[in-house]
């Protein structure tokens, strides 16, 4: 009886100790500084602010400004988004207040992106997109069907944040010889090697530190800087939202957004795995992680990587549905001889979001199998344009070459196939804007890939 009570007490105290927020004390052995927290991911938040600001300036088409937020590391750069709003003040207004000397481009994926003409690397593609955006009015190219604001933003999130976290920190950096836990990350830091590696991955996800105590809807509203959720966002109650730990950025926002619409649990799944993994590292108390601990840590990393990939695929799925709906609207307006310019603008915008997210899936060095070629072919290098043309290549001067792609409305069938491909390849759950009428669920039931040759 006594033993049972004791074990119950221990269990209760352990669960009480389990972190509910991404806050962890110093465990580095021999540390004699004044820091009380070992959590640090300011550089990642600086890149989130760079990305948000880049998206703002991409809509203006000023190349110098875009490069300021894409590739420059100069001091004094102003944060263009998020900025303080009535009822939602933010703490920082300069990139340097988050971290100095950071850029987006050097952290972007340097492998080949097959879904864009010319097979550029991720870094080259970002530069090309910025160059091309600078030649347009407000980042919109109606001739080739490109919305550069969307293409740059959605692809950059994948090529930088998703890539660095999943392909770098949660993969190779978890090996025993990489930033061991019994050493400081760098001389003088208050955190160990493995603590910081994990923190950097978490920073790229973009969730507020108190994410586990927030609902998906609240996370979405924090990104939108809705004054109604300010009290929830300002976790430390200092009257301002600290971008370093209290704001929701990038894929954390998209995960929460999908969950808020579909009732799925991507945001909290990823958040919980990050917190649990970090707790495991803290529990090692500054000693090198054992093989068993690293194995467990890799399991948390796998949960994060899978759900993160699903979030991006869910977003692509949703926008494939939007592209389908836009084509339907265009057909109706055309039949009524109305003005299609607004519907076409939406079509290009949604295609940019679809393509940006689809390219992001390619930008983390993960093997997508047949899905990669399928997505590249079905989505193509541009939407199918009026006159049934589609971008098919680059010419010798880097200009886009168009060719006939069949009837514009037939592109809807491609969107159905894209949705099926995404749903099947990434085991999607939310499937927002589903234009397949629930096909992937039936296909799963039919177990269509059965291979045995069975007689009757």
């Amino acid at each position: 009886m006594k033993k049972t009570l004791l074990s119950l007490l221990v269990a209760c105290s352990t669960s009480a100790m389990a972190a509910q927020s991404y806050e962890f004390g110093v465990t580095l052995q021999g540390y004699d500084g004044s820091a009380t927290s070992s959590v640090s991911y300011g550089g990642q938040i600086a890149r989130h602010a760079l990305h948000n600001s880049l998206k703002k300036v991409a809509g203006k088409g000023d190349q110098a400004q875009m490069n300021t937020y894409l590739s420059s590391t100069e001091a004094g750069r102003v944060i263009l988004d998020p900025v303080s709003k009535d009822g939602f003040p933010v703490k920082q207004s300069k990139i340097d207040e988050l971290s100095s000397g950071k850029d987006l481009l050097s952290s972007a994926y340097d492998g080949v992106i097959t879904g864009w003409p010319g097979n550029p690397t991720g870094q080259e593609l970002l530069e090309q997109l910025v160059d091309a955006a600078a030649k347009t009015k407000a980042g919109y190219d109606p001739v080739n069907g490109y919305d550069y604001v969307q293409l740059i933003s959605k692809f950059a999130m994948g090529a930088v944040f998703y890539n660095k976290a999943v392909n770098h920190y949660l993969e190779e950096k978890l090996e025993a010889d990489q930033h061991p836990n019994n050493e400081a990350y760098k001389p003088g830091t208050a955190y160990t090697g493995k603590e910081h590696v994990w923190d950097e991955a978490f920073g790229y996800f973009g969730a507020p530190a108190n994410g586990l105590s927030l609902s998906a809807k609240e996370v979405v509203q924090i990104t939108k800087q809705n004054p109604e959720v300010f009290a929830k966002a300002d976790a430390n109650g200092d009257g301002v939202v600290d971008l370093k730990s209290e704001m929701a950025f990038a894929h954390a926002y998209y995960a929460a957004s999908v969950d808020a619409s579909a009732g799925t649990n991507y945001f909290h799944t990823i958040m919980q795995a990050f917190v649990d993994g970090r707790q495991l590292i803290s529990d090692a108390k500054g000693k090198a992680l054992t093989d068993a601990q690293r194995t467990e840590l890799k399991e948390y990393a796998a949960v994060i990587a899978t759900a993160w990939q699903q979030v991006i695929a869910e977003a692509a799925f949703k926008y494939a549905g939007s592209v389908y709906a836009d084509l339907e609207k265009i057909a109706v307006i055309e039949e009524a001889h109305g003005d299609v310019s607004k519907a076409y603008r939406n079509y290009v915008k949604h295609w940019g979001e679809l393509k940006g997210f689809a390219l992001a899936l390619e930008a983390a060095g993960r093997d997508l199998g047949n899905a990669q070629a399928g997505l590249d072919r079905l989505i193509g290098f541009s939407p199918v344009l009026f006159g049934d043309a589609q971008v098919v290549a680059l010419d010798g001067k880097g200009g886009f070459v168009q060719a006939n792609a069949g009837p514009m409305q037939e592109y809807k069938l491609n969107m159905i196939k894209v949705q099926n491909l995404l749903a099947q390849s990434f085991a999607l759950e939310a499937k927002l804007n589903d234009k397949t009428a629930g096909m992937s669920d039936v296909l799963e039931q039919l177990n269509a890939a059965a291979q045995s040759a069975e007689n009757d």
């Binding site: 099926n420 099947q424 397949t436 009428a437 039936v442 296909l443 291979q451 045995s452 007689n455």
Partner: protein, 333 residues
Amino acid sequence: MLESYLTWLMEELATAGSSLLDLRKRVSLWYLLSAVGFAFVVFYWRYGKHGWQRLLPYVSPKVWLSRSSRTDVGLWLCNRLLLALLIPKTLTHALWISGLYYYWQKQGLTPLGLGWSTTWVMVLFTFCYVIADDFSRFFTHWCLHKVPMLWAFHQVHHSALVLTPFTVFRTHPVEGVLFFMRSLCVQSVMVSVFLVLFPNQVSLWQIYGVLVTTFLFNVLGANLRHSMVVLSYGPRIEKWLISPAQHQIHHSTDVAHYDRNFGVLLAIWDRLFKTWLPGNDQQTLKFGTGRAIDRTGVIGHWWIPMMDCADVIRHGVAKRCRNLKKRLTIREP
């Protein structure tokens, strides 16, 4: 190169082996055992305490270790490897269904909007799917017997001298491709039409992830069809459902039994096509084709049908040439 080939080989064989625990496969251990349980109950009810003796052939080492039985297993594993290369693994069904789903809508097919609950749609879809699937299996099987070029391949299944549950895999790879195409056609048409008529409501009624009828069919002794255990459902039920005894008649060497009982689940197709014969527990049958193929191994079962098919084509061409010559001769003044 060799390493990746071996990995692939082992993975495919492991997947084949996993069928023994997979409820979606007829040869799952659960169904192999449930067939014994089902037959035991029926025989006890019909023949009393000695009824169980009728089950002895099911576990007879003489049957399981025979060359015919070993060829069943050999074809199962070898076909598995070959078909993994011949049949595209994923997305074929999805692409076809997507295409048809889009095509029907272009042709003006729209949702029925009847306001039916998802449960009713599931029941209706499952019913229609089972009927279409069963008929397509019957008709494919009928064609395999009636078209000489197809029989050349289907003879592989009939060359079994003894029947075991693994005879279900005794199939020529070409026939395996035909079965794949049959399933592709039925699933594509049924699913695409229903998705248009009842968007976001289409699903199959399943038990443990298996289509309800397949589950019941397998639990209630589907494995006895290919076994030396003779079990009839009785004259009344056999008019509607194909019994193990009826399928064994289909495998019989007796000329009177040729081209009978093509059905899988339902007997109504055989009655419509006048190929239905009842079975009974007392029937004694011999199995096989009576040809050399009966006594060959895997290679023979792959090769002989190709030669036979080539013969059929050669004779067909020669006959056409003769007919053409005859017609031309008649026309000459």
